[in-house]
Symmetry: C2
Subunit: 280 residues, 2 copies
């Protein structure tokens, strides 16, 4: 039993789709969330930069003495899990591992599509995780960079531009019988219907937020660290930029209002760095 | 006469469309460019964050003792010009002022559309600059956030999704006779034909890169600081992340190969900051 919060971190706002599942599955847990909105997105950036930013954010969250850290960003899960697991003295659950395992389990004939950001796809982390869970799996990995800005702009699955772009991204899969597809970026559940329509009706869709929430539940149960409270847990959000925008867009991702959002100054989370030059 | 370089800074890769015009108009000038690819984009971020990032980048570029600084990013021009002009001991030319002046001059009846990022539009800087140049101007300001990721993905004006999205953004202008439209983000020239088609044939298009290059030429001529060399000037690019991606995408923006791209570590450009917390 534990009253410590669960820490959740994301490059920005997408991680709230993971929080949505955590709140529904583990309502009595308290959550503390950090969205790195000053440096978002991570999905087009390098391993080195994503790992450095992820460590900044994780260190900030450690001040709340969390019992577990959720990496609610597929790009950070793909590029920074090793660094985070090495650095943090608490259990770390990413969105990538549980999703890869679920896809391996659900895909009847083992043919799996991974839809994710440029950086996640380039890392090769998803095919590696899927194949570790199921050796006969065949993975088709597709980068879908526009889904993030489309979702952030408030477009939904019935938007003709979303349909057109989804069909374009998934057209290389025509002629392949896909069994399961992973929504390998936490923004993508907001465009789920358009993605499902482009994939066709026989495909099982894996939502990485739901799978991560299930893994968190299992890990806390195994460790005897589930909350003993019966009341609904609290939720505090921190962002590195633009709390108003986070609050405004966040409700759509979380499916409830985002009440508490606090701005964090750069000196409270960014890597200590000495400027090589004096100010001009 | 001066052999000092011109410094050019941008949030990422878009500023290369400004450099394209500088290279063509002022071929004997040497250029040093910084793209803040670790923290790109600026267009969805707050004034405070954009100003802080812009000062970081400008300070880095000052080590090359430039004779003039070009702010080749409309968002930084809209949100950080005052801070930059106050801080830097050299002339600063932004992309916004020259574009607003050109639009005011070119618009027959003074009806001007400004197409730009979310942050540039929210700042109100374009309408203010247009109206300072022409009091009877009427400005229609439209945020077009998807044009940046569409251009970075390599989509062009003949792409059906680009056409559809451009028509959607510009649909509020139907029924208004626009005289001139400003491409108020340095990515937008890559989608110029689709934007022009959605606006209709009577609209004069203002490319902020071309206008900024003309202003730089005028400023250097007035100051007696044009290069005396007859040989083609050199060009060095620095980025805060992913030099390979910059080189790969850059050719399309610059219209020539990007030869020299160097990675800059965070401690060489980021604001000095003391972490509030020891590493976990």
């Amino acid at each position: 039993m534990s009253t410590q919060p669960i820490a959740v971190f994301d490059s920005g706002i997408g991680g709230l789709t993971v929080v949505r599942h955590l709140r529904s599955l583990l309502p009595s847990e308290s959550l503390v969330y950090f969205g790195d909105t000053a440096r978002v997105p991570y999905g087009s950036k390098s391993q080195r930069t994503v790992a450095a930013f992820s460590l900044d954010v994780a260190r900030f969250l450690m001040q709340f003495e969390p019992k577990l850290m959720v990496v609610a960003c597929n790009t950070a899960s793909a590029l920074a899990m090793d660094d985070l697991a090495r650095e943090l003295p608490i259990p770390v659950v990413g969105v990538l591992g549980p999703s890869a395992a679920a896809a391996a389990r659900l895909a009847r004939d083992g043919v799996i599509a991974i839809l994710a950001t440029e950086a996640t796809i380039a890392s090769g982390a998803y095919p590696a995780a899927v194949q570790a869970a199921r050796r006969d799996a065949r993975v088709e990995a597709i980068a879908c960079p526009l889904f993030v800005p489309l979702a952030e702009e408030g477009r939904t699955s019935d938007d003709p531009a979303v349909r057109l772009i989804a069909e374009g991204y998934l057209s290389p899969l025509r002629g392949t019988t896909i069994d399961a597809a992973v929504l390998g970026c936490t923004h993508y559940p907001l465009l789920r219907d358009a993605i499902a329509a482009a994939l066709g009706p026989q495909v099982a869709i894996v939502d990485s937020g739901r799978e991560a929430a299930l893994s968190v539940q299992q890990a806390l149960a195994a460790l005897g660290m589930l909350s003993a409270h019966s009341a609904r847990g609290s939720m505090r959000c921190f962002v590195s930029d633009n709390p108003q925008r986070f609050r405004r867009l966040g409700a759509r991702f979380l499916n409830e209002d985002v009440d508490s959002v606090e701005f964090v100054e750069p000196e409270r989370y960014a890597t200590p760095a000495a400027s090589a030059l004096p100010p001009a």
